[in-house]
């Protein structure tokens, strides 16, 4: 009977530690009553949210309307809408060079192009993959896992892996040479580098969206397909009339989610393109904010915050649309 005794000994030690931890908390309960306990349980969370999420929002707004390079809002001169004016001053919005903050507008246009191509490509690839995986294919779990694997990797790792893959001495060039194509330094070419930023982004994230779309597809009742088959509906009609309409809400949510995430492209592109190169070909909006605030010794927090606020508004609108869709989906 030695094992139970050890067990009770361990139990007792644990019990003792527990009592030490819970003593002050139980003291609170004894003082203020059981009804007040949820406030105590919420306190750590709310304090952290308050300090690191809500306070920054307030400060962000304060920063956007002040200038100078001081760190603390109170030390900074109020400049009204100057930061926004500076960001938005432009003769011709389609050519960033004519704008006062040409970098900002370059970043905006780069981001817009990226969002457009990335959303379209990711959605297409994820949808096709989800439809195929939904066809009760053997080893579905294996493929799902493989496609999902990159989602878990760090953006830095992905940036480096692809940088090496696309290197002058990399595998892609080796393959092209086998076909007789001369080697190319892809990441130093404006067109190619932009193309591969989208490729890497699709490669990175498509598994996640595939998973969500697959869950949506599997939630469509099977008997609908059986009914369609009995009605002799063609595959095209089945896709257009049953699958896509029923998947519609999921598709919309995925679309918005993709947009929200694409607008915030930074990490993997930063590593892959050595900070937005060649030149500013892959300089995106988050990178602009980062560089304004932390990239140089200038510390243009005001300008960076104004840009953050503008981006925040866009993201907020997208999120509200998403929430609305989500609610409609539930009902």
């Amino acid at each position: 009977m030695s094992t139970p005794r050890i067990a009770t000994l361990a139990d007792r030690t644990l019990d003792f530690v527990m009592r030490l931890v819970e003593a002050p908390i139980n003291g609170f309960e004894w003082l203020f009553g059981r009804k007040r306990m949820p406030y105590l349980f919420l306190a750590p969370n709310l304090v952290l949210f308050g300090i690191f999420t809500f306070l920054p929002i307030a400060i962000a707004v304060g920063y956007a309307f002040t200038g100078g390079t001081e760190l603390f809002v109170a030390d900074r001169p109020f400049v009204g809408f100057d930061n926004f004016r500076q960001l938005l001053a432009c003769e011709d919005y389609s050519s960033p060079g004519s704008c006062r903050e040409s970098l900002f507008w370059t970043a905006i246009w780069n981001t817009l192009w990226f969002v457009g191509f990335n959303v379209a490509a990711t959605l297409l690839v994820a949808l096709v993959t989800a439809l195929i995986l939904n066809r009760a294919i053997a080893a579905c779990g294996f493929f799902r896992a493989v496609f999902f694997y990159p989602v878990l990797l760090s953006p830095v790792v992905i940036g480096l892996i692809w940088k090496w893959f696309l290197d002058r001495n990399g595998l892609l060039n080796a393959f092209l040479q086998m076909l007789g194509v001369p080697p190319e330094i892809f990441l130093l070419d404006v067109g190619w580098s932009r193309f591969f930023v989208v490729v890497v982004s699709v490669w990175f994230h498509m598994g996640f969206y595939t998973l969500i779309l697959l869950a949506g597809l599997q939630a469509i009742p099977k008997d609908l397909y059986e009914a369609a088959a009995i009605d002799a509906a063609s595959p095209r009609r089945t896709l257009l009339r049953i699958t896509l309409p029923l998947l519609g809400p999921n598709l919309l949510v995925v679309l918005i989610l993709l947009m929200i995430r694409s607008v915030q492209i930074f990490d993997e592109a930063w590593v892959l393109t050595n900070g937005g190169g060649p030149g500013t070909a892959n300089s995106f909006i988050v990178q602009y904010i980062y560089q304004m605030a932390f990239g140089s010794d200038l510390r243009l927090f005001g300008l960076a915050s104004a840009a953050s606020v503008l981006m925040g508004v866009v993201l907020l609108i997208l999120t509200l649309i998403q929430l609305r869709l989500g609610r409609r989906m539930e009902s």
Binding site: E22, I25, N26, E29, K35, P38, Y39, L42, P44, N45, F49, F52, T53, P56, I57, A58, I59, Y63, L71, V73, T129, L131, L133, R135, I137, V146, F147, P150, L153, S154, P155, V156, V157, L160, I161, W164, N169, L171, A174, Q177, M178, I212, A215, Y225, P235, R236, L239, L240, V253, F266, D267, V286, I289, F301, A304, S308, V309, G312, L315, L320
Partner: protein, 352 residues
Amino acid sequence: MSTSLDPVAFLTRTRRPGRVGVTDILSWLWLIGGTLAVLIPVAWAGLSSLKPEAEITRFPPTLLPRAAVQKTVTGFENPLSLWKVTVDGETREMAMVRRIGLKAQMVDPNEPGKPVSIDVKDISPVQQLTAATENYTDPLTKFDFLTFLKNSVFVTFVATILTLIVNALAAFALSKYRFRGDKAIFVLIISTLMIPLTVVMVPAYLVVVGVGLVDNLWGIIIPTIASPTGVFLLRQYMLTIPDELIEAARVDAASEFRIFWRIILPLTAPALAVLAIFSILWRWNDFLWPLIVLSSRENFTLQVGLNAFQGEFSVQWHYILAMTFLSLLPVTIVFFFLQKYITTGIAGTGMK
């Protein structure tokens, strides 16, 4: 069964046992192609990370890590590299003494005599599979890689533990109590999902400066602890725990905290596991926030350190790739064993 090439038919037709149509072939091609697209860059980086420095920039590259075979030849101090030499239609293995322009001085390693001069176009290196383990051991010993690794492990571990406790407490309050303001607080917490870090990073940095945590590992741990995703995930799970259990515990004279600790936490284990996995991945892979907050090298996490490395050693790919692979390893292992939990967890919450 029609075997049309209609792309729509290809996507929607369900498989029937015993028949292999064009649709099936195309599906398999897509899936296998996709699998290769996912695995090849990773595998290529992995194989390359085992190549010795001299080999890694060779073009066209070899697929597998190989190195020239070295041989000690009597009469020569240093080991010489072995080459295949074709002279007069006959192929022999010879060791190269030195190379001058288009001529190479070679000796027969078995009967070393006077070196003979041979055209370089007639020789090709003799190679064997190698694993350049120094790519892995050097960063661990010579560079700060071990420091980065230690920092990353510390941050990931501490942040995950705190994330679990803090968010589980909040989720408990929001799922099992009715109190004034409960709905408002829940909405408030969930609304922070809408505020991505990229939007508040500048002022959040200021706050971290204000509380004196800049360039400090706690500066990247504490701000990330409270997680709306975590609260949401745990709360939804706790809602499924019957209230009667809590009432039974109250009748059993348990304090509220004891109910949390002894009843709720053990029963929330599956959701806690999902959140733990998420948290580990988030913290391990975090880049932008540590990049902003950490400034001195001894505080760098793995991701920031890797990024710094590639700036400094931009040509030393053998080191960069080895370190990349080391940082990818834990995630891969976690994924290999917990793949099912991760995918169902994400499909269930729609978050990552």
